[in-house]
Assembly symmetry: none
Homo-oligomer: 499 residues x 2
């Protein structure tokens, strides 16, 4: 094997893997958008074949030999190639430590868990889901032991979703957050409530669709490469490369702001993905590098930009044009309504300030279950206790409590902290961006170009070239510090509530 | 290799091929439904990979050995297995004669042609599409030469879409049709024109969507397995098996009948596909056997049933409910309007009687281009000349002329005659069905069950088990004869125009 041959194989193998990723993502997307309801089993048949082919493609002996050869000759490779080889080998080596029959059994468990979780959530019946959830936690502990016996299992999984993340880092982060957020929420809750009537009423879907298009254009998405459609739960997905990106939303006719900020949030994900340098397309470096950095972008656009006074002033005339009943309100009414602070039950509907506490509750539960300190059986009681302690709310049933998220049934343990970290990264990005960009002026003028150019230059174009911690270091020029985030939230609460 | 092993391989290989067919069909579907307009090149990348993998899967040495082994032991196989082996070997033997790189290049060409055709049609710019169309015709000639050098290229492709069809048979069929249709159209054109005002007006898309659902249910489609969406050009497609079928339509707010009959037409295709016996799923025998038989079903539902007096009487109260402005009309007005005969420009909007002439024009053009007697460059002029000669209409621009159909950009040369043949098969099916089913009574009552049961028993459930000519013989108990079709059309014109 010559170096040139190996490099060509590296490139073509990744291109082929991208094609399978495209097909697989599209089949899932079809399943939640256009597919008739009796067709899930047919999709499962196809996905089973494609995942087997794709697994073979990314793990066969010939490819491993190629990667190891390239690894031995890494000084001859470009920075991008070195990183591709590293990421591909890392995945393969992890995969190979899991006995095949256990891996297959786990896939089966997850498929069953998904169906059972849906039923359990609908019936608010935690005991129905409990045995499967216990197996999922057990399997995650066991797999972590196979792959990284030197680490605590939860540390391994945290690092899988956010390279370099550990319980120690999370504990420090959440302690800092908690120390300042809990009193802040108490202050806001004691203050005069914000009038939210501006966002409530009747807002026809067709008009909200117009709003979505306006928002996508305004924040700078390229509509030739980013599509939008509706699904029950909003998400963002790429089809094979960053040249084809789709976001989804869900319209609530009684409150236009839910879809509005969801579109900006998913739009942030899409800006990040589609901002990858074109030469990264059809490689494992294409698209966002980690969930934490991804959420830093989505929540940056949704909250830091989208809920700013400048953007509210920019959007309000458009809102009045689409929904004439809003003409009796002001942009300031709108700004205050979408920045109200109110402890609540559902994470995905939480406001910007209380959001982190929802995540912290999940983190504490995962940490203790993974360490064997909390039994899965006791999750609902612990969930409800923590919601009361941190957010002061009573959880009426498990549907609105411990069963609300799909992550655990999907096997994603260690994923939640990235939501909170992402929000905090975003505030530190803002501080850095302000050194060279007049962010508030841009927002008032509706000129996202300088903001997007900064993100593109510093974050987006790199795709997965740098590990998240290295990327943050490059951008911040200093360690990550949650103080930017907490300062930002305190100043927002002061602005809205005067406290 | 034991017989059991070979049979298992036959089954699993077809299941894997079905998965690729699913992914490929879905990517095309996405391209014409939800995809942002700048994403065609990305789809082309993925389709190139998938078609290469799928090609490998259906033509590799191991599989050919298996098929040849089964072929040698065909007396041990079921009728279905024998037919699978026959069809797969036939395809492989054809495929292997096409150099792999030419096959892959052709898939790429088609993906590009699809995008360019859309743009060319929109701009009415034939020269934009011309070089791609020339390559498509050239490739079809070249591929036919590889596969069946003993045949004329166009004969090869006619036979691909309708087993056994040749230019000789087409020439005979079209001559018979032309001899009776041209005078019939002249008579109808000279008669008192039908008042079409009932179908013209303003019919909101949302209401037409309700009509589509009602029509799909009424003709007996299972909405758990058949979806509908909108596209520029209506079509029907299966995803991996007959368990997931999609139809599309295009709404014209000024004339509801266009989408209405389009939905019934595509619904006929979907009834046929989804009517395959369940044990044929994930094999090459799943779905309709040929384009001609497929069109016999779609046009049977659209025209023979859908435009019958009985169905018009059934549908009219529903139409009045959806479009109250129709209350001043009668079902008879509607029946006459949707059976008006009027030479026109667009094939898909043509009436039942003039339709065949649209097909004949395409047939003549394809025949001459494939024989090298007509240059692609001269297509627009020749198209316009033939429309004037056969239908007496002047073509104002290429958008409404030579660029109107998607078939050529999709590489489907030799496909069009099956539309006309299918219409003619349908009339002969009707004659046969009437021997045991009270078709008119069923339509008046809105009871499609006996009609569908007859089609299912005689046609649908067999999938591709019988070659089309053999299937027709089984059902007709006599040779195919276009006289049933011409009798049917003459009687329709007499009923509507009294001539």
């Amino acid at each position: 094997m010559t170096l040139d041959q190996a490099r060509a194989e590296l490139k073509s193998r990744q291109a082929r893997m991208s094609a399978y990723a495209h097909a697989t993502a599209l089949i899932y997307y079809d399943g939640v958008t256009a597919a008739p309801k009796g067709t899930a089993e047919n999709r499962a048949q196809t996905l089973a074949v494609l995942s087997e082919e794709s697994y073979r493609l990314s793990t066969d002996e010939k490819f491993i030999e190629t990667l190891e050869f390239l690894d031995e000759n890494s000084s001859e490779l470009s920075e991008a190639e070195r990183r591709q080889v590293y990421l591909l080998l890392k995945d393969i080596r992890a995969m190979r430590k899991i006995p095949m029959e256990e891996f297959v059994a786990y896939q089966r468990l997850l498929a069953e868990a998904d169906a059972v979780w849906h039923e359990a959530k609908e019936k608010s019946d935690f005991p129905l889901f409990e045995p499967l959830l216990r197996q999922i936690f057990d399997t995650n502990v066991r797999f972590a032991g196979y792959i990284a016996p030197e680490k605590k299992p939860y540390d391994y999984w945290l690092g899988e979703y956010e390279d370099g993340l550990t319980m120690e880092k999370c504990d420090g982060f959440f302690a800092a957050v908690r120390a300042r957020l809990v009193p802040l929420i108490e202050k806001a809750s004691a203050a005069k409530p914000v009038d939210e009537s501006v966002i409530n009423g009747c807002f026809p879907t067709a008009k909200q669709e117009e709003l979505s298009t306006w928002l996508m254009k305004t924040i700078g998405l390229d509509l030739d490469h980013v599509g939008i459609t509706t699904t029950e739960h909003p998400f963002t997905t790429s089809f094979g490369s960053h040249f084809d990106e789709r976001i989804t939303t869900h319209y609530h006719e009684e409150d236009f702001s839910m879809s509005m900020f969801s579109v900006i949030h998913e739009g942030g994900h899409a800006l990040y993905d589609t901002g990858s340098a074109d030469e990264l397309a059809y490689t494992v470096l294409d698209g966002g590098v980690s969930m934490g950095v991804h959420e830093s972008q989505s929540r940056f656009y949704e909250n830091i930009l989208g809920r700013s006074r400048g953007f509210c002033e920019l959007a309000f005339p458009k809102l009045v044009e689409l929904f004439p009943q809003l003409s009796k309100y002001t942009a300031e009414d709108f700004y205050r309504a979408v920045n109200r602070v109110r402890p609540s039950l559902i994470r995905t509907e939480a406001d910007e300030v209380t959001y982190c506490l929802h995540v912290m509750i999940r983190y504490e539960i995962e940490k203790r279950v993974m360490a064997g300190e909390l039994a899965v059986h006791d999750l609902p009681g612990e969930w409800n206790r923590l919601y009361k302690e941190y957010l002061g709310v009573d959880v009426p049933d498990d549907r609105q409590g411990v069963l609300q998220d799909s992550h655990w049934s999907g096997g994603m343990i260690g994923y939640f902290p990235s939501y909170a970290l992402g929000s905090a990264y975003g505030a530190q990005f803002l501080a850095k961006m302000r050194e060279s960009v007049d962010v508030d002026g841009c927002l008032r003028r509706g000129d996202f170009a300088p903001i997007n150019a900064w993100n593109r230059e510093n974050i987006w174009r790199h795709g997965c070239l740098y590990a998240p911690d290295k990327l943050l270091e490059r951008v911040f020029g200093a360690p990550f510090d949650p103080k930017y985030y907490l300062d930002y939230l305190e100043s927002k609460v002061k602005d809205v509530y005067g406290v």
